[in-house]
């Protein structure tokens, strides 16, 4: 039987891309995007940039190191299913916290 194996340079290029994005995310962490953005969205811009970079890195690992690129269609079904449940977890819990006052956390030490 023939075995499909990606060439060595694919792995090296993916690794180099991951290194590039790692250095990039550290670099942009020191930039305050709120200074360069319209009022209101500035305070979430840094998070949006950092999470977009992390997501890009994760997609590279999943597609190439975890061989989802070139796998049968059932693997993406499992991954998308997981992500949908993560969205449900975050959206429903987030909606609960956003729509009712949160009681202040008071640990024993401060009493």
């Amino acid at each position: 039987m023939s075995v499909h194996v990606a060439p060595l340079k694919t792995y090296i290029y993916v690794f180099l891309a991951l290194m590039f994005f790692t250095v990039l995310t550290v670099g942009v962490a020191f930039v305050n995007f709120a200074h360069h953005a319209p009022k209101g969205i500035g305070n979430v811009l840094n998070d949006a940039v950092a999470m977009s970079i992390a997501l890009t890195k994760a997609v590279l690992v999943v597609a190439f190191f975890m061989h989802v690129k070139g796998s049968t269609k059932i693997t993406p079904v499992v991954i998308w299913g997981t992500l949908i449940f993560m969205v449900i977890l975050f959206v429903f819990t987030g909606a609960d916290y956003l729509t009712r006052p949160m009681t202040t956390f008071v640990p024993v030490m401060s009493q």
Partner: protein
């Protein structure tokens, strides 16, 4: 079919066997993602609620060590991926060599993590009665460190388990147990190791980088 065939009797072909093994691993990783998801959710809610405490706490972490460990861990993912590639090509020595490199890099990550934990201990940043924090809102700064130790601790635990599995896998590889037709154990352990790498890819910006721009 030869007597020492590595094709289990309930599979029609090696391709089907390989696909089933990978799929099983992906379902396991799926529940692992949900499992970590609870911690990521707790982090999101509390950071949204106490942004100032979290921003100042985040700046207590050593960004240099965090960056170093990120590079080390992604490096270990590369060597793991190369080990799987070697196994798929039937290169026994390459498989063993790359698995050992993966274990070495994983160990370096854990040692650096240990030094970071020791530093937090010395600076009274362990949540509890001896917690001391000079920044604003020390009460909620503790929440950040509770999440920091929970998330990195659970991640480190996964790495320790991974190192144990890798040691077993390396011994199996050295015995020549894996073939281009069936190296599903190597592929499966690889999937687990890359998953642990992805968790860190998200932990690094969330814990180390958030709040950095408040100082600029």
């Amino acid at each position: 079919m030869s007597e020492n065939s590595t094709l289990a009797h309930h599979f029609d072909s090696y391709a089907q066997q390989k696909e089933s093994a990978s799929l099983g691993m992906w379902v396991f990783i799926s529940q692992e993602i949900m499992f970590f998801g609870g911690l990521f959710l707790a982090y999101t809610i509390y950071r949204w609620r106490f942004p100032e405490a979290f921003a100042y706490s985040s700046n207590e972490l050593d960004i240099g060590l965090g960056l170093f460990n990120t590079i080390v861990l992604i490096g270990s993912s590369l060597t793991m991926a190369l080990a799987v590639r070697n196994a798929a090509l039937g290169e026994k020595n390459g498989t063993v060599r790359n698995l050992i490199l993966t274990m070495l890099l994983g160990s370096v990550f854990l040692v650096v993590k240990g030094f970071e934990y020791a530093h937090k201990w010395q600076h009274h940043l362990i949540p509890g009665p001896n917690f001391q924090f000079s920044g604003p809102d020390p009460v909620h700064a503790q929440l950040f460190f509770v999440l920091y130790f929970s998330m990195t601790g659970l991640h480190a635990l996964h790495m320790i388990v991974g190192l144990g599995i890798l040691a077993w896998l390396t011994a199996q590889a050295a015995k020549g147990r894996f073939t281009p037709e069936n190296h599903n154990y190597v592929e499966g352990v690889g999937l687990y190791w890359h998953f642990v790498d992805i968790i860190w890819i998200f932990l690094f910006p969330l814990l180390y980088l958030f709040g950095r721009h408040h100082l600029t």
